[in-house]
Amino acid sequence: MINLSTKLGSLELQNPVLLASGVWDFPYTKIIDFKRLGGVICKGVSLLPKEGNPPPRITETPCGLVNSIGLENKGFDYFEHEILPDLKKLGTKVFVNIFGESIEEFKEIASKIKEVVGFEVNISCPNVSKGGEKFGKDPKMVFSITKAVCGETDLPVIVKLSPSVENIEETAQAAKEGGAMAVTASNTFPGLVIDLESKGPLFKRITGGLSGPAIKPLALYNVYRIKNAVDIPVIGSGGISDYKDVLEYFIAGASAVQLGSIIFNNPLAPIEILDNLVCWMREKGYKNLKDVNKK
């Protein structure tokens, strides 16, 4: 029997494969068997509705994509009544990604949501004017927001870090000191796409967030740096496309992974990754996933 279970602090996941925030919605349950996942992180929720950015919102690059969605969501009240009940029925561990434009907003949302497995605090979205990566670049702010959220809930708190910092170890340390159970490394990388027709930026907000296989070495390096400097579980996120990528993230120090853009390229990727991970471990004689990074 192959054991894929993994631990994030005191929290045990049946396997390390999580679906990232902002890439899936309920229609994906028709394609993916969510019961097989380690868990999911839902689309970012803010206190008030956010309209999102004007289209175009997406374009592709070699080996990836750039998005400028802008955290479109219908706000906390809608989330509580229309989305949360269905999230609880998914049959997998659900983390709620929360977004605020101020510490107060983070606190208010965190205090209102219960009966989920945990929170992921979004302080790293590059596509919004207020909050987002502006918070995530400042270790003091990372500490304050994490501490404020942890003060409002007994649920485990994950902090999704911005890659747009000089020393990601510092923001990871700030999240740890604020009380985070784990950090996600990392969000999308800000980038520019030029439209040859209009001879200007494609996106109305100028920049977008780059994701997909193109960023894998960058995000992998962030995981490695944090793991070697801060004693906190790291969830690797960035360009994971197959089971080998999962193994690489584990060897770099991750305790779980998030799949994002790949489910646009191949919606069955999460299931294929889990199946192939088991095959690989069987072939190599591993019984427990936690042993794969041992030399």
């Binding site: 919605d25 028709k30 919102r57 080996c63 969605i69 853009s261 489910i263």
Partner: protein, 245 residues
């Protein structure tokens, strides 16, 4: 039918006018596909990274086809597929719509594909169809065979589809109208329809799409009720609800 994600073989890639008609072998989807449904189609691997949304064009018990226009690098690569190549197919997607037996179809350019697919459930009335050049007009005989009066116009000769509509505007009265084409064309058409005609008009909206399943929130279209997603709330929207720049 619930959507599935499968790898399907190409039976044929044939040039029709300026477009590519790609036929895929499939025994499941077309018989169950409904009006409003579309598919996401992509090459295996990471180049291009994203699949592209396509309306069904036509099909039968063993295959279906889509119509494609080369617009950028992604469609350029897709246009080169050969018999036996395999493509990723996600579908059927989209919000289904109950089409009328008779009605007005208005198409500009490649917008002919979704309205041709819709004509599967119809037994005629009028098609207004505009294209750049005479040789770009396709499927006109097939529409005639289905009992449609076909009115065409080309930019190289006479003008735009809106000119055609101005001439025959009374023919639109009291009927459901379905429009597919560039947003600029749709906006101009809205400008010449009267209030009653707008009430009964629907548009097929196209927008850059990431996943087709409502996950990425990329394919936003501006409506009077805020942004809505083409993939799960469309692609067919009431004309009166769509907000134009």
């Amino acid at each position: 039918m619930e959507p599935t994600f499968r790898i399907l073989p190409v039976l044929e890639n044939k040039k029709i006018g300026p477009y590519h008609k790609i036929t895929l072998k499939d025994v499941q989807m077309y018989n169950h596909a409904e009006c409003g449904n579309f598919v996401m189609i992509g090459l295996q691997g990471f180049d291009p990274y994203l699949s592209r949304p396509f309306s069904f064009l036509e099909g039968n018990r063993t295959s279906f086809s889509i119509l494609m226009k080369v617009k950028g690098r992604g469609t350029e690569l897709l246009s080169k597929v050969k018999k036996g190549d395999k493509l990723k197919v996600l579908g059927p997607l989209g919000k289904i719509f109950c089409p009328p037996k008779k009605g007005i179809l208005i198409a500009g350019g490649i917008g002919i594909a979704p309205v041709y697919y819709q004509s599967r459930w119809m037994n005629g009335d009028i098609l207004f169809y505009g294209a750049k050049r005479k040789k770009d007009l396709i499927l006109t005989r097939e529409f005639s065979d289905k009992g449609f009066t076909v009115r065409t116009i080309t930019e190289e000769d006479e003008g735009l589809v809106t000119d055609l509509l101005k001439e025959y505007t009374d023919e639109l009265n009291g009927k459901q109208i379905f429009i597919c084409g560039a947003m600029g064309m749709i906006k101009s058409i809205k400008g010449i329809l009267n209030k009653e005609q707008i009430e009964k008009a629907y548009v097929y909206v196209e927008e850059r799409m990431g996943c087709g399943l409502g996950g990425c929130k990329s394919c936003a279209v501006k409506t009077f009720e805020g942004y809505r997603l083409v993939c799960t709330e469309g692609p067919i929207f009431p004309l009166k609800e769509v907000k134009f720049d």
